[in-house]
Symmetry: C2
Subunit: 300 residues, 2 copies
């Protein structure tokens, strides 16, 4: 679709969900949230990372690879149906079984009648106590490529990618009109209150910085609520919600609460980027002649 | 100096100054601020960008190249003397005449008896209405190399560099233990109050994000106060102060006011970076195999 044909205001629906550890009920609540957001006028609906399952990466357990599925597969098929029925663009997330022993943490987009229009395989994979993602997920090998949809060019990234300015830069250089992060992040119980508050604040701040550095809006949708660790090794994870919409100048335009499910609509002005990028023409001045060492792990 | 020999707590003195358009008085106030900060126990003293002159880039005027000087030269000599007399490290800023028709916006470091220990030539040069820096300054050609001092490895960057995550990343990958930004940034009078507030907030946010992404503290020292535009082309510039110290986790540890001169002391714990980088080991996960397009201006 040519840029001039697209609506320049996009009605964004964010579904901040607490995952229910019972598949049918969980799928029902996802479908209800999507339907309700579409009814409210959403053009674009974003769900949290790996929304179909409790956060299974709390433990490294070989039986949990059974949760993976192909793309296209059952979850993307369900979302294609919903997308077509409701006439909306949906950003979902799935534990992808690629075959050949490869598994990815994959975000995907379904777009009305067009069905599955693209996927993004999480490039930066964390590995922290209680977040054993390197065990499950092969780092993505599709790079940072935006996905064209009927409402614009979407820059899908996933959770841990949030901490890397490189990811946001590459997506926006490649033409992403909005950066979208499905996430699953929470507090560590062993940290004191002040540390927890500082960590959440850092998470908000770095995502706002991606908007500022690149002159694009950012949408980030997180899980919320406590999930037990079935292995009993950890006290479980409490996801901090705080899903947000950030303007192209980094302004925190809307933010959800930290402790409950929430979904709602927010109007995003995609024209704002054009204005911001004229006021702050950073892209003009990047010193690509002096950035070679960005391709190194360390210097020296 | 070996890392183990260095003090790990550094007492930082920031001098947020309003430049006086009378050379002798301006130099006197700079010297007073430095002396006072040293008396208060500062190990490291940071001044705003181009502190020896009003912000001459408000207009493009060939006679103003007369303000430039060599490095080493009169200003670095003055600072070497002060540094040696007071036993402190000083980060200063100068309009550098390099010869051969080359001029730079240069930050430098003097270190006690060691004298001038290094310089950084501003790499990203702005050009905005009222900020005609591309007229005066050749973009730096020394890259992003930290400067070793008796108190640690300093990552000097200058003002507009603040908006580029690449600069902060390269300095910290190269071993900078703290990022230091002498700056001169202010409000545009044609913007409304809300826009002005959002711009200042974006400026704070992006610098905090450099701390977060890299696990290093950030010191930013700005000018303050109104400076007239002698050409009468613009209503002048009002610099917004707001000099700050940011912890390695992005926490805004100290911030000055927006409308008055201020100088003071802040204890910076350089050990904190080690701790933060273990909790958030982002550097481990950079996808240098997939960052090649960062060396391009645009994609495609």
């Amino acid at each position: 679709m040519r840029a001039a044909d697209r609506p320049r205001s996009v009605c964004v629906g964010m579904a901040q969900l607490q995952v229910i550890d019972q598949q049918t009920a969980n799928r029902q609540q996802i479908e209800s949230a999507i339907t309700e957001l579409a009814d409210q006028g959403a053009h674009l609906i974003v769900l949290p990372e790996l929304h179909d399952h409790r956060y299974f990466c709390q433990t490294a357990d070989p039986t949990l690879f059974d949760l993976a599925e192909t793309v296209p597969g059952p979850t993307t098929d369900r979302f294609c149906e919903l997308s077509a029925k409701l006439g909306v663009v949906i950003v979902g997330s799935v534990f992808e079984d690629r075959g050949s022993g490869l598994f990815h943490n994959t975000a995907f987009v379904t777009d009305g009648d067009r069905g599955l229009v693209g996927r993004y395989r999480k490039m930066h994979i964390p590995e922290d106590p209680g977040y054993y993602e390197k065990y499950y997920f092969t780092p993505g090998d599709m790079g940072f490529t935006p996905i064209d949809t009927s409402i614009g060019r979407l820059g899908l990234l996933v959770c841990w990618d949030q901490w890397f300015p490189e990811a946001a830069r590459l997506m926006s250089l490649a033409g992403a009109e909005v950066l979208i992060y499905p996430t699953a992040i929470g507090w560590d119980f062993t940290d004191d209150d002040q540390t927890q508050a500082r960590q959440r604040d850092a998470w908000i701040t770095i995502q706002r910085s991606h908007a500022i550095a690149n002159g694009v809006p950012v949408i980030s949708v997180n899980r919320v609520g406590h999930e037990v660790d079935p292995s009993g090794h950890t006290p479980g994870q409490t996801f901090w919600g705080s899903s947000m919409v950030v303007s192209a100048d980094g302004y925190l335009d809307m933010q959800y609460g930290i402790d409950s499910q929430q979904h709602g609509i927010h109007v995003l002005d995609l024209e704002h980027s054009r204005q911001i990028r004229r006021i702050w023409p950073f892209q003009r001045d990047r010193r690509v002649d002096a950035y070679a060492d960005l391709l190194k792990k360390g210097i020296p």
